[in-house]
Symmetry: C3
Amino acid sequence: MTTFTLGELASRFGLEPRGDAATPIGGVCNLKPGKPGCLSFLSNPKYRAQLADTQAAAVIVTPRDAAGLKTAGLVAKDPYLAYARIAALFDPGRAFEPGIHPAASIDPSADVGVGVYVGPAAVIGAGSRIGAGSFVGPGCVIGRDVEISEGARLVAQVHVGDRVKLGLRCQVQPGAVIGSRGFGNARGPEGWEEVPQLGSVIVGDDVEIGANTCIDRGALDDTVIARGVRLDNLIQIAHNCVIGEHTAIAACTGIAGSTRIGARCMIGGAAGISGHLTIVDDVVVLGRCMVTRSLLEKGVYGSGIPVAPARDWRKRVARFRRLDVTETRLSAVEKQLGIEVRKLDEGDDGGDD
Amino acid sequence: MTTFTLGELASRFGLEPRGDAATPIGGVCNLKPGKPGCLSFLSNPKYRAQLADTQAAAVIVTPRDAAGLKTAGLVAKDPYLAYARIAALFDPGRAFEPGIHPAASIDPSADVGVGVYVGPAAVIGAGSRIGAGSFVGPGCVIGRDVEISEGARLVAQVHVGDRVKLGLRCQVQPGAVIGSRGFGNARGPEGWEEVPQLGSVIVGDDVEIGANTCIDRGALDDTVIARGVRLDNLIQIAHNCVIGEHTAIAACTGIAGSTRIGARCMIGGAAGISGHLTIVDDVVVLGRCMVTRSLLEKGVYGSGIPVAPARDWRKRVARFRRLDVTETRLSAVEKQLGIEVRKLDEGDDGGDD
Amino acid sequence: MTTFTLGELASRFGLEPRGDAATPIGGVCNLKPGKPGCLSFLSNPKYRAQLADTQAAAVIVTPRDAAGLKTAGLVAKDPYLAYARIAALFDPGRAFEPGIHPAASIDPSADVGVGVYVGPAAVIGAGSRIGAGSFVGPGCVIGRDVEISEGARLVAQVHVGDRVKLGLRCQVQPGAVIGSRGFGNARGPEGWEEVPQLGSVIVGDDVEIGANTCIDRGALDDTVIARGVRLDNLIQIAHNCVIGEHTAIAACTGIAGSTRIGARCMIGGAAGISGHLTIVDDVVVLGRCMVTRSLLEKGVYGSGIPVAPARDWRKRVARFRRLDVTETRLSAVEKQLGIEVRKLDEGDDGGDD
């Protein structure tokens, strides 16, 4: 591993050094307990006290925390962001030797750019283009007429279906499937008949797609993942969805067909979002939320009943089920007291709030 | 791409043409905005007004909507179904050249039928049979003694475990796993011990299985997916489940072991169905439903608390938790008023309704 | 298939035979209807009556049920465990011929132990070690500097990322991804920036990992799956989680980053567990539970509202939403009756109970 001096890192990333600029930095580490020779960061003021005890050689801090440094340091407006950028210098997973492995299968009509790596058991179909500097890991299957822009990183065993387009510098984790058939079926006289899914998936620049996540191709139009989107693992994005720029979606979330999600949204893990909805920009959907209506105002949304000891949970479920009885009892009481009973809408469809 | 005249399509699919039967149709499109030279359809009367503005060359409509056509058209009892069948003519994804790619690995004892394609990095194990006209895409792994019937389409990177049987014309999306080990474990003195899963998975004719969906093999009997079933992406079907004919299951649903689901059911996305249950024919389970008991009457079922602004959600959770207090307060009021308090069952186990 | 006598099985597994010790046993079967020549078991006393009608040649029973045997039998303290061990003799899926398939791609610097099988289209990266007697099935991709201990079974198409360590006798089902990038992102001026994930995944001995399950590598420290853990299919384990020894997790569960789960826990299917929580030893979390707080006492926990006919469900959701109105009405009644209204905390954050 390479080593940098604190001064080198400061000038390379535009940060202000504190202490001995010659301090050698050979890696990154947690603040607690820290690791000699390594650089850590303090972002959350809650952990400020750890500055005193860390074994790290240096710590990235905000200007406000700089006075509390007991070690060398780097001062940054956003220590976590500065850490992320510096840590990339120590990431052993990114460098690769370009070249086509002899056990790759590349159609003669495919166009593979300069500086590309194609691993063993990888397959690239007819008419596809792999942009310069891309990494197509072992076992990836790229279909026909696919366009993968420059600097992509398909780690391994990724599936990119026919005619799918990936923007610049996309990163895709193992097992992700981009461009599976949308779930379109029509009832015929003998059972379900397949509705051809003729659209594709268009993925913008700088998108990350997690392990075993699935993105279906559109029925006629395309499914669209705009630039800067972050998708975690095991996410389902159905046909014709549009996910806006820089939206981040946590693992295990499912989004049904034709739903449009705005820019800069944060969708928590295991959320379930129905089809044909609109979610505007800057919405935060908390984990496990059941979204059955459009969210047309920016804000934070949630649903679900959190954990309880099982005995309490069961009693509460029973009380929930007899809320009609509870309301009826209350109405009887009000009647006896001469309080006018307010008319309540029983017709709620579970979809509005 | 090929082009057909409207008249050709009408006679091929048994539909009634309207307007110029010589109208050339070179593809399919949405009704709004429509695309010149292409055929669209109107199924939902809500969109009837779009007939006036569409740029489509022709539209498939019901007899009732035929009078509203401003373009050429085709009259069909079920326009969506007619569209589905016609659209297949324009699907670039289905045609393939038969042949065994040199980078495929096929055990000499496997029996590969005529007109089969086996892609690069695909693997077919000893004693397996691939029916005529099947497509075994790149990276698929077919185990030992597997039977795949005629006309199957395994898109890519599919796993079909030892002894699994697939019926005619099954279609399987990338990353699906058919025949993984059922989750059977017995407690031993040193921890979990594996319970061998000796059954298989039997898949009927005309079944579709979505991307990254998992179907476990049975413990002793087989897991059964009956003919015509439609499974979306990222579904879990545990050992010994039986899914009845023509049932459709949306993405992210999980079904625990030994549950039997009837014919023609519709299971919404991200539903969770406990083990050892029975769901009868023609049941509709709405998305994200938590099914902890058998559903023995046909009908529509749901559960879950839909989305709300987070502040409202939190207050409602608090009120839900103090339903015991609310009921106690109500009982005190009733007592003071001399109303007899009804005895309520506190023993509800969360599983019955 | 081989056949054993009942007496052979009894002495091999330390069980007490009943009836004719020469009874030939050629396989295992269910108790009902049973299968001639095969061995079954009775574990759940509920099925005791089936002893009378079974066609099985012999049945494994508890000492208590031995008197009820109408066939030959084996007496065991734990019939299910005894069954599990005996059934393994009849499992056709486990035996393999060691050898490296010519269509495997193994880096010259990898160290492949004796008695290892490496299947076609499998890939083993530089510096990796595969322990003796391991099975690396077709299409598996093992990254660089991976350590796989003796006796592993990677069924097929498994991904094991760079630097991941698997303990002895681990079994991994198809499509599982071990060592994908943790979902670490920092907000930069132009959108999300990647936070390098420099940790790894450490998997203990005798762990099973299900189909299409994902385990992310840690950000700095490692994600840890302790020995004896059982993970079902389609599970998400985020970066820096620690799963304690012998804990079993059912399918479709998601666990967010840095959560620590204790030993011998049982986590039901489709549970959702938030990040940075602690769950102590011996906790049972029921299926679909939403865990948003630490569980610091051993016990059984649940949440969620189970299924109801859709009409009832919708009415209950409406009543749930107007719990504020219900409480206000109750307060008005109490006021009119001169009952002192208890002050209620509205500030519940949905996370505590």
